[in-house]
Every structure is written in C-alpha cells, then in structure tokens.
Symmetry: C2
Subunit: 264 residues, 2 copies
C-alpha cells in the first residue's frame, strides 16, 4: 500500500489489482442486466460511496477468461478518500463483490493514471493440457486436448515468428470493428511446462503492449495446429502475411486464458 495523498481539493486516482474466475462472469466490460466484473465492482463502489464511480480496466477480458492480475482504476472525490483507508477499502470491496473475484491490492496512483492507457505491457497466459484422460483439478482453467503427443519444439519455432511489430489482422476476430489499427507489438512468446495441483500443463506466455480482440486465443489455436503437426512452424509466418482471419487456426476456448499481469 502506497503513501496517502493529503491533497483535499482534487480527485484521487486509485488502482485495484484483482483476480477473478472468468466462468462466473459475462466478461469484464459492464453490460446492462448481465453479471460482469466491471459491473460488480462499480456496484460495490456505488454502495460504498453512495454515488456512481466509473472504472477503467487494463484488459477487457471476454466471457470465460480468467484474471490473475487485472488492474482497474477509478477516481474518488477527496472527501470519500479521506473517510477511509486503502486497507479498509480493500476489505470492504472484497466483502461487497462476488466470491468469484478477489481484490489483492489497492494503491493510490498519480493524477492522470489510467489502468488502460498508462499500461506499457500486458501479459497473458494460455494453458493447455495434453493427456488421454481429462484433468480434474485444472479442468476449469485449461484447454484439454486428448492427444498426449505434442511437438512443443515445433510450437516454439512457430511462436518465434510472432515476436515483434506486425499487422495481426489474421489473429483478430473477423467481426471485430473495434480494432481499426491492427498493428501490435509482441515482446515475447514463451512455452513452458508447469505443474499445478499435481496435474501437468503447457503454458503459453505472451507479453505485448496491447492485443486485438481474441488475439491470444487465435494464436493459441494456431500454435496447437503446429504442435499436432497439422502444419509446419513456418505456416505461422504465412498466416501473419495473409492478413485474413480465415488463414489462422481456431479460436482456443476462453477457459484456458488468464490475464496474468499488467505493467506500468
């Protein structure tokens, strides 16, 4: 928890770091009549401060996508801020929001900070499980592929083509009109094995400045085709070049994806 502002004239900017189970929300972004992360948070803030509080999220995760370290910012009038402490705010928000969400940190940020626009790097992780038998404890957090033999080396070779600044039109939901500029920079794509609760999985870790709609999930689906030897690693370069969603592989299921961390 950072130093408290003592300024009593201007609004205070705060940031929450939170985790949530994507299965229990219709995505991050507020939607009338649907249970969303942002809607739930804003309802709790409204209850707490008795006025509307508008929030901004670092990543607009889709329905089913989990978060380990989502960041949400908002501004509070100084009188609201002076009436509480960061620790009280955290515990009140944890009490008022759904059990499927946990607020791990509340911090004061410099004026002008935006969880969305101030972010310099976002990290997502996509988990696959390759096994004849479905996993038990990891089931809600992975994409289970019932083929135990996977060419991870080929996936790593394919992943290397994605690093750098590219036009990722092929890796963006075709229907998405939100993303007019389709140029993005991927800082790294890493694949590593992990063991969680005694079950093994393959983790696809992607760091970038920002991502297009469904971009990570289309990358995950395309890399799987390489891992299953349906495609050569070089095919990923051709997909990028095509600038056409139809050139890429399937969109991997939402439940395998986690917004891991946001850096500022």
């Amino acid at each position: 928890m950072s130093e408290r502002s003592t300024d009593t004239t201007t609004d205070i900017t705060l940031a929450l770091t939170l985790a949530y189970n994507g299965a229990d929300f219709h995505g991050f972004a507020r939607q009338q009549g649907l249970n969303t992360v942002q809607g739930d948070l804003e309802k709790a803030l409204g209850t707490l401060f008795r006025h509307e509080v508008e929030t901004v999220g670092a990543g607009r995760t889709d329905a089913g996508v989990h978060a380990h370290g989502q960041v949400v910012s908002f501004r509070l009038p100084p009188e609201d801020y002076q009436a509480t402490t960061l620790e009280k705010l955290r515990s009140s928000l944890n009490a008022l929001t759904s059990d499927s969400m946990v607020i791990n940190a509340v911090e004061e940020k410099p004026d002008g900070f935006s969880a969305r626009f101030s972010a310099v790097e976002r990290e997502y992780r996509y988990r696959y499980v390759f096994s004849a038998v479905e996993p038990l404890f990891l089931r809600p957090y992975v994409w289970w592929v019932s083929q135990p033999m996977i060419d991870v080396q080929a996936m790593k070779q394919a992943a290397a083509y994605l690093v750098g600044e590219h036009d990722f039109t092929s890796f963006c939901t075709a229907a998405s009109s939100v993303d007019k500029n389709t140029i993005r920079t991927i800082l790294s794509v890493t694949l590593f094995g992990a063991d969680h609760l005694g079950e093994g999985c393959l983790v696809l870790q992607i760091r970038g400045n920002a991502f297009l709609h469904s971009m990570i999930r289309i990358i995950a689906g395309s890399l799987l085709e390489v891992g299953m030897r349906k495609r050569e690693p070089e095919w990923i370069a051709e997909v990028l070049e095509a600038r056409d969603r139809k050139a890429a592989g399937q969109t991997a299921p939402a439940q395998g994806l986690t917004l891991w961390r946001v850096r500022y």
Copy 2:
C-alpha cells in the same frame, strides 16, 4: 498399462489410480444413500459387468478430503476381463463415474494384491494459505489462514518430533474406535512452499506406513499453532507423550487435505 494375464480360470486382480474432488463426495467409503467415491465406482463397475464388484481402497478419506493418487483394487472373473482391455475399462469407468472423479490408470496386479493391505507407504499433502486476502483459484483446496506472518522454521522443528514410530493417540479422533492399535510410523514430514495457478501456499507433506483417523488433519492443526507462535516447537513432543486427543491442536479443515500417493 501392464501385461495382460492369459489365465482363464482364476479371478484377475486390477488396480485403479484415481483423483477426486472431495467436496463432491461424502468421503471414500460406501454409505447407503450417500454419494461416495467407493459407491460411485462400484455402481459403475456393476453397470459395466452386470454383477456386483467389491472394491478396496488404499485410504478411507473423509468427506471433503481430495485425492490425487488414491488406489482401488478389485477382482474380476476371467470372462469379464477377457471381454475388455485395460484402456477400454479406463474410458468406460471415466464415462460412467461422476465428473468429480478421474481414473488415470488401470493396471493388472498379481493375485492377492490389495490396494489397502499391500500398501507400504501412503503420502498425504496438506495445503495452507497464509495471506490477508483469501485465495481465489486455490480456495477449494487449501486451509486459508488470514495471518500472513508465519514461522515456518518453527513448524519444521516441531514436525521433526513426529518422525519415527510413535503412539499417535493424541493425534487421533477421540471418538474413533476403529483404530485399536495407535502405533504408527511416520517416514518423513516436510514443509515446502509451492505456487499453484499463481497463488502461493505452504505444503505439509507426510509419508507414513498408515495413519489413524484424522491424524494428518490434527497434525496440520497442531503445527499451525507452532507456526503462529502460540506454542513452542517442543510442545509437539509433549503432545505425543500425553496420549490424549485433548493435548493436541484443532483438526484442520478437510478441504486442505489430499491423499497424494500410495506406494506398493
């Protein structure tokens, strides 16, 4: 999967290795009218072979206790065995049993093998989470203690007193009349940190020949008192000496415990 027996006159002994989510069962042991692991397995075997099949489990886990590697043995008439394969048996059992249970392996065992009596070592793991904020993804598999500062070193010192052959009367449910002989041998007690799904926990790993009713959970509850500095590490030696359930700490919650592995 091991070699298949071709003997067509005597019953075949098989062993299943399975994982289950303890939250969804009233424990391992079959009980009339209740959903139990053994009951669910025997129902599936009955459906598959059209006659009763009696099973034996390596560990009779209580309600709420999870399993990563429970072992269950049973005998099949040779004609049932010849009509299937180990792989088919595994997939049929996975299809017929609850989604909260996963059969990872089916093996043929030598005549006379018993999942319970042939076991030479059982390993249990108990997971604690020490943090101000409740964990999210690990919540169903841990004991959350809302005190971030814990003396793990003191817990390790205390744990060392438990290793070896002892009378564990103090660490056994007082009401239990099942355990007449209260002498058990603990082979090792280890404490280590782990990260699962991005959340940290402390794992208490206990290996022994066999355990009394609630023994691991009473050990977990007692070691916590040392970790919280309510007791000195040497207190554990006094508890052992007392041969009285009232001398030990509380029984830790079932959901933190997992039957990890059984060795033969």
